[in-house]
Amino acid sequence: MTTLTAGEVEVTPPRRRTWGWTRGLGVSGWLSIGVLVLVLLLAVVGPLLASQDPNEGNLAQGFGAPSVEHWLGQDANGRDLLTRLVVGARTAVIGPLLVVVASTILGTVLALAAAWFGGWFDTAVARVVDAVFAFPGLLLAILATALFGAGLPAAVAALSIAYTPYMARIARSAALRERGMPYIAALRVQGIHGLSICVRHILPNIRTLVLANATISFGFALIDLAGLSFIGLGVQPPTADWGAMVGEGLAGILQRYPQESFYAGALIVATVAAANVLGDRLTTRSEGRS
């Protein structure tokens, strides 16, 4: 009856176990977690699993068909595809991970500060955020690689800045909502320090939303970085990377050997889809009760 009797409050609360942030994810949410865990696991242990050198190939065996030695076949340079996919997981995941961590921390800190101090500081943050919004992330990244040279570091730094406004905007509105709650007023009246209120009270109450947004950002960052590597501005050859492999596989497609682009692309799609679905489930849940 709890939800049906607005205005009535004395309801004996349900005594159920709380599952923390995993509560109410549903089948699709759990499947997505499974996919993401597998990908992350691959990124951590992948290079250790590889029995063959990902960068060494036999040119004579270019576009080699699947065999006992090469389960998924070989690329144009005769390098083992499976090994390159397994090893490439780390480069494919580490970039987006860095982008997400950096933009989440930066965005959340900005949002908390803006919501807490309000006034001119809040306005200033809002303006800066709006300005950065005007630049598409990919464009900013291309600009950065043009300035600082192609490669992951410049692209990651640029994307981190480009992704911060998304996090800042979502976290700010959630933080503002919390800031207006009577329990925050009660804490101030107690004499609890503002920093402590932000970190110990507002942050835990917006964390599901922040986590949800970070998960979705991970998917987008993976696509953006894969795209950069695809056009040759991101991860540089001969390093194995899913995005770069889609690009390198292009030549094979023309020669009816689409495996490389297909496998790498499928891994990207699966990872991004999982991140999106999970982010979506988390958002829905945080709207219910964070």
């Binding site: 009797t5 607005a6 009535e8």
Partner: protein
């Protein structure tokens, strides 16, 4: 005796919560004749709002309903399609506690009031506008034409609730479900809103199911009052003698726990413990754990609703306690 417009008999409702069905209403029976007002009184979780929702066919999905629930001789539970639409659009209207949450804030009062007239009544917008002004006049709003151009936020809660009542009049329902219609309003507008509802009921012969937590208000405006506790009817009482002659210890305890505007007491006779919900009810009487008059039999024997005086009581000691409940053993102070 008139045939009842609304007949509820042995109504049991369970709702799915976390994968299990939980009882929220247990064996609720009452009837309501045209032109009369029945009050449903109780605290949170008592099932009073759920009863009204069942009548309005507003139960959440997955709800299991047992028992009879009839409007004008037809089962409400079995209404489908066009018949259900007609029932909701024409036969019953609901007035909510917070008028602001029941009205679209970005549309003018005029749009809100004339919508039903134009769509269901097939009126031209000029005719609908004129009718809307008449309706507002009926609920005591004189400058209707000006109000029609205003937005909800420009009106006070009391005025807005009167607009909601005017909207109800546009369809002239046979049954009004009023769910705490004055609780969110200022005290000084309460009498006005209740007087309007009473007058309309008398004029048009509408029946009203009035849901409230306020025993005094229920006694003042209802022909019959039903007191609910933990999903069950514990007392059914005709007339206004609810306080002077309570038939169930819970009613008596509620009446005593409420502070008196005429005098302060050193300590209020609070009811110990907290209200239970229907699905947690212990064996025997649901109120027994908090009841100052409970005896051993109360915790083993499930009481039935039995006739007593000018009403019914679900208490095995009702007969023996009658007239003594208000002066009975002093209630012990409880802390849950």
């Amino acid at each position: 005796m008139t045939t009842p417009l609304l007949q509820v008999e042995a109504l049991n409702i369970a709702l799915p919560v976390d994968g299990e069905l939980r009882t929220v209403l247990h064996d609720v029976s009452f009837s309501l004749e045209p032109g009369r007002t029945v009050g449903l009184v109780g605290e949170s979780g008592s099932g009073k709002s759920m009863t009204a929702r069942a009548v309005a066919r507003l139960l959440p999905p997955g709800a299991r309903v047992r028992g009879r629930l009839e409007f004008d001789g037809a089962s409400i539970v079995d209404l489908r399609g066009e018949a259900l639409r007609r029932y909701r659009a024409g036969d019953v209207s609901m007035i909510f506690q917070d008028p602001r949450s029941a009205i679209n804030p970005v549309r003018r009062i005029g749009d809100f009031l004339t919508e039903a007239l134009r769509i269901n009544g097939g009126m031209s917008s000029r005719a609908a506008g004129a009718r809307a002004v008449e309706l507002l006049a009926e609920v005591g709003i004189a400058d209707g034409a000006r109000r029609l151009r205003q937005y909800p936020h420009e009106l006070s809660g009391g005025l807005l609730q009167r607009v909601m009542i005017a909207a109800t009049l546009a369809v002239r329902p046979r049954l009004i479900l009023a769910d705490e219609p004055t609780t969110a309003l200022d005290v000084s507008t309460q009498a006005e809103v209740m007087a309007i509802l009473g007058r309309l009921r008398a004029e048009y012969g509408m029946a009203m199911l009035f849901i409230t937590h306020d025993l005094d208000l229920a006694a003042a405006v209802c022909d019959e009052t039903i007191v609910m506790y933990a999903g069950s009817v514990v007392e059914q009482h005709r007339g206004a003698s609810l306080h002077e002659d309570p038939l169930h210890p819970y009613t008596a305890a509620l009446a005593q726990a409420r502070p008196d505007i005429d005098r302060a007491t050193r300590r209020l006779p609070a009811i110990p413990g907290y209200p239970t919900t229907a699905y947690e009810v212990p064996p025997g009487c649901a109120f027994a754990p908090r009841c100052p008059h409970a005896v051993a039999a109360c915790t083993t024997q499930e009481p039935q609703l039995v006739p007593i005086g000018d009403g019914h009581s679900r208490c095995i000691r009702a007969e023996e306690l009658r007239g003594r409940m208000l002066t009975g053993p002093s209630t012990t102070e409880g802390v849950a």
